[in-house]
């Protein structure tokens, strides 16, 4: 799986949020997007997820421009900003409802995803969840179907250290299995040891600031 971002610009009225960005992402790597709040990371993540359409340029998924075909990448799962789940359903029921849309997984996989994010109170209604629990449920909906591409915008906000460490291990394992993972954050420490490449967002420009040699390529 490969995503090519070619000369992508995103404007809202006259405000240029992303300016002529060109970069690519490929399977088996974890990418970090770094930048202060409001630097355009979330907008960029939404464009990669197919939710925002670039003002100009193109995003190719294995060479295909899904925006031109009015499609969304269905093998991609994202956590961007806080997801609004159904308040009267439990965490488990919310995930089950989502899982039924593509009907690829059953209750076992949902339970596993909840266990990975350490969300034990799965029978509690979403409306009773704390911020951290909501965030964990958001991550669980990303990982439960074992997608090819995972996009996580500020995933570790409000989550205790022990779960963060567990998730870091999980993402590394998934990367080794060939998944493409993009993690966006404004905290440099979150990306240490986790990512293979880091891109920095600054005033609409995107620069590569770090690249790690993969063990397998040595």
């Amino acid at each position: 799986m490969r995503i090519d971002v070619k000369n992508v610009t995103k404007k809202f009225k006259n405000n240029v949020v992303i300016n002529d960005a060109s970069l690519h992402f490929e399977s088996g790597k974890i990418y970090g997007l770094l930048g202060r709040n409001g630097s355009g990371k979330s907008i960029f993540c939404k464009m990669i997820a197919g939710l925002y359409v670039p003002t100009s340029g193109e995003i190719l998924y294995d060479g295909v421009d899904l925006n031109k075909e009015n499609r969304y990448p269905t093998n991609l799962r994202a956590l961007i900003e806080k997801p609004s789940f159904f308040p009267d359903l439990t965490g488990f029921q919310n995930l089950k409802l989502l899982a039924e849309i593509q009907n690829k997984i059953g209750d076992k996989e949902i339970d596993e995803a909840l266990s990975i994010v350490n969300l034990d109170e799965k029978q509690k209604k979403f409306s009773k969840y704390s911020l951290g629990m909501k965030q964990k449920l958001g991550i669980a909906q990303v990982i439960m179907e074992d997608p090819d591409i995972m996009i996580l915008d500020e995933p570790f906000n409000g989550i205790e250290r022990v779960t963060v460490e567990k998730l870091i291990k999980y993402f590394k394992k998934k990367s080794e299995e060939g998944k493409l993972i993009i993690i966006s954050t404004h905290i440099t420490d979150d990306l240490k040891d986790l990512t293979d490449e880091i891109f920095e967002f600054d005033n609409g420009e995107i620069h590569e600031i770090s690249k790690k040699q993969k063990k397998s390529s040595k």
Binding site: L51, Y72, L97, L98, E100, I101, N103, G138
Partner: protein
């Protein structure tokens, strides 16, 4: 095949949960109360005939009530688009922009159907409340029994609810928000506009077919019941054509969610 058969169930579950969520929201109670106020408004105006069927027939033909009712439906759609529209994690699983537009549309139509059912029930209840003893069946201006005329009126009313809700909902998907806002304002003015008609139309002509839908609902008397049915069907087909054109145009180009 098995996968194909399971898909509708998931869509049904999703819709049901959206509707359940909507029914738990304050906005639903506010709208229901507003509909109740509208039915009270028309029920307590002067009625020359104190008969249940006549009062019910009159209830669905009140121009002011109908116009305000459609404004409430439009407000409901705007609310859905601002506060309840599908989140990105649902859309990513949908696969196509067309599917996303269709799912949104189905939920909005269900929401407005619920409001319409409340409107019908409240009108019936209010008509019983105003005339609890006189249920004698009388005839309409076309000399057909009023219950039959009322069934036709309610059916036509519901078709307009569906067509107008679809149109407004689709227009809200237009990429240029300024254009969609301008259209909604023009559409509300169109809904409120009432051509200066006497209560009777002597001949069907091209203008008759393009009267605003609220005019059709306000009990204009045509030369015959058949003429009313024909004119209504033509008018409905015009709205249907507009809906289909707008739908095709909307799904042609994916826009930001």
């Amino acid at each position: 095949m098995a996968k194909f058969m399971k898909y509708p169930k998931s869509k049904k579950n999703l819709r049901n949960n959206f509707i359940k969520d909507y029914l738990d929201r304050k906005v639903f109670y506010i709208l229901t109360f507003a509909v109740f106020a509208l039915t009270c408004l028309q029920a307590f105006t002067y009625k020359p005939i104190k008969n249940f069927w006549y009062i019910l027939y009159d209830a669905f033909g009140n121009n002011l009530t109908n116009t305000l009712f459609f404004c409430l439906l439009i407000a409901n759609i705007i609310y859905f688009n601002r506060e309840m529209k599908m989140d990105y994690y649902l859309i990513n699983r949908m696969g196509t922009y067309k599917e996303k537009v269709r799912q949104n549309l189905e939920i909005i139509l269900l929401m407005n159907t619920i409001i319409f059912i409340a409107f019908v029930i409240m009108n019936i209840g209010m008509s019983i409340f105003v005339t609890p003893v006189n249920f004698k069946i009388i005839t309409s201006d076309y000399n057909i029994i009023l219950p039959l005329q009322i069934i036709f009126d309610i059916g036509r009313f519901y078709i307009y609810v569906i067509l107008i809700s679809s149109l407004v909902s689709l227009i809200l998907n237009v990429e240029n928000k300024k254009i969609s806002r301008i259209f909604i304002v023009i559409f509300i003015i169109f809904t409120m506009y009432s051509p200066n008609l006497s209560n009777r139309i002597d001949n069907l002509n091209i203008l008759t077919y393009i009267y605003p839908y609220t005019t059709y609902l306000s009990h204009i008397v045509f030369p015959s019941f058949t003429n009313e049915v024909i004119a209504s069907v033509v008018n409905i087909i015009l709205y249907l054509i507009i809906d289909v054109i707008v739908y095709k145009k909307i799904i042609e180009k994916k826009v930001d969610i």
